[in-house]
């Protein structure tokens, strides 16, 4: 294992590497806090958050219909005995789609989209939308199925359509779990969009990537600190929101 990963950690302390690392680390201090740069960083931070928000919104738009199609609770044919073959097959196909969407790493989606659409936030937004649609869809389906079925059963047995049952029984019943998970995923999306910047999707990641390539340590340190603050803030906002809504 050590051999395979070329894990020669002692080379980190070899003379050239040490001098290079030392120089690089020394260039980190002092962090670049010039006003121009800070304004740029603030703009990129907003871009990162905006990318995450747009991505999650699109993901919700995709995930809700998919979850709706995948839940077994809304099965009309299951009201009277076992679910029939066609509805069951449709549900399995939708679940498979959700698994595929969820399993492809978003970085790979972003890589492909950057080559198709070009650099910029569009590719990042689409990558987040697709991956998070898979995650949100699966968890929405699980949440909708885990609630007490008597409400939705009562509505469906009395002739309500599936869509009506969704809006009048399932969603209100599980609204707080659904929102809580969505807020948590929004926070994850912020971190993802920073990472996606490294392949050209814009935001803090792209800024850090270009500063690293130019060996501009002071800029890198500022961006890193701002990123940590962003993660910390969004963590607090997310926790507060979830408490506020419960």
């Amino acid at each position: 294992m050590f051999e395979w990963t070329e894990f020669k950690i002692w080379t980190l302390w070899g003379p050239e590497s040490l001098k290079q690392t030392g120089n690089f680390l020394a260039s980190f201090f002092p962090p670049n806090i010039s006003t121009d740069f800070l304004v740029q960083v603030a703009r990129e931070t907003w871009r990162t958050v905006a990318m995450a928000t747009v991505g999650i919104t699109l993901a919700i738009v995709l995930a809700v219909p998919l979850a709706f199609l995948a839940v077994r609770v809304l099965s009309l044919s299951a009201l009277t005995g076992r679910m029939q073959v066609l509805p069951s097959a449709i549900r399995e196909i939708v679940r498979a789609i959700l698994i595929i969407l969820r399993s492809v790493p978003e970085l790979i989606w972003a890589l492909i989209f950057v080559r198709v659409v070009g650099l910029g936030p569009t590719s990042g937004v689409l990558a987040i939308a697709l991956t998070y649609a898979g995650m949100l869809g699966k968890v929405y389906a699980e949440i909708l199925e885990s609630g007490d079925p008597s409400n939705s059963q009562a509505l469906m047995r009395n002739g309500a359509g599936r869509l009506q049952t969704l809006f009048y029984a399932l969603l209100p019943q599980n609204a707080d779990e659904l929102t809580s998970y969505t807020i948590y995923r929004w926070e994850c999306a912020i971190r993802s969009s920073a990472v996606l910047g490294f392949v050209g999707a814009g935001g803090l990641g792209q800024m850090m990537d270009s500063s690293l390539k130019m060996f501009n340590g002071s800029e890198v340190l500022t961006i890193l600190i701002v990123f940590l603050l962003l993660v910390w803030c969004s963590d607090m906002v997310s926790a507060w929101l979830r408490k506020f809504l419960s």
Binding site: R47, T53, L107
Partner: protein, 263 residues
């Protein structure tokens, strides 16, 4: 079930919805989104060609000679990174847990702060930062995974140490057994199954991370993927993607089996 107070909920919910809408509209407006570019006929044709090529993976022997070492490299990266993180995480969890006898709470807060910082920086960011000192190749990937996972595991281990039942520990310490002996003979065995189980779960996550770390130059399948994708060689790309999925499934199965054996 207590009925929800109707008077308090409505204004809160409306305020939340309005704030969300404002954030969403502001986000859409401020980004220069170009979905039109996506649906432009030239782009669609290009994507069609990509997808067609993607369905014909390259399984030639020559390519396998490149795929296999890269896959092993990725696997080793994830395994070694997780292993290092287990050791370092445990080491940092001792001062970080509330039940530790650290005389100064400064040590505890700084340990917790270090773990939090390690955990907040995503693996890819660590890899990009480490490329300067560790160079291109799998070592930066391994270190990046190790650092991030140390934060995750360290936090989890600290909580496990805090939540473990204290009776045995108390009985021995009342008798005067030294703290380090107590740690190794009581606390560690008590939480060991939890630790190993969670570490294996993180390994599953790390194999996925290791496959993509290569995209910034940290070696393994990711580096190959980035190379072939930049040359638009979609059939090689699709075989790399399939090997990635296979590797992830393999590690998932292996990890699940061991965790079931432990439970």
């Amino acid at each position: 079930m207590k009925p929800i107070a109707q008077t308090g909920i409505r204004p809160k919910a409306i305020f939340f919805l309005l704030a969300c809408c404002a954030l969403i509209i502001a986000s859409f407006a401020s980004l220069n989104l170009q979905f039109a570019a996506f649906f432009d006929p030239g782009t669609l044709r290009k994507m069609g060609l990509f997808i067609a090529e993607l369905t014909q993976p390259n399984w030639s022997g020559v390519f396998w000679l490149k795929l296999l070492p890269a896959a092993l490299e990725t696997l080793a990266m994830s395994a070694l990174g997780t292993l290092i993180a287990f050791v370092l995480g445990l080491a940092l969890a001792i001062p970080a847990s509330k039940s530790s006898p650290a005389r100064f709470s400064l040590i505890r807060s700084s340990a917790r702060w270090v773990l939090s910082a390690l955990r907040s920086v995503p693996e890819l960011m660590w890899a990009a930062l480490l490329l300067i000192s560790a160079g291109l190749g799998p070592m930066s990937g391994t270190l990046a995974l190790a650092l991030h996972t140390t934060g995750v595991l360290g936090r989890m281990f600290a909580e496990a140490l805090e939540n473990a039942p204290k009776d045995n520990e108390f009985a021995l310490s009342v008798r005067g057994v030294s703290r380090s002996k107590i740690f190794f003979f009581v606390q560690v065995p008590q939480i060991a199954p939890q630790l190993v189980s969670y570490t294996l779960y993180r390994w599953e996550n790390n194999i996925r991370a290791a496959t993509v770390l290569g995209i910034v130059g940290a070696g393994g399948l990711g580096q190959m993927l980035s190379y072939y994708l930049s040359l638009f060689k979609m059939s090689e790309t699709s075989s790399i993607l399939l090997v990635m999925i296979g590797l992830v499934l393999l590690v998932d199965m292996f990890s699940a089996k061991i965790r079931r054996m432990l439970a």
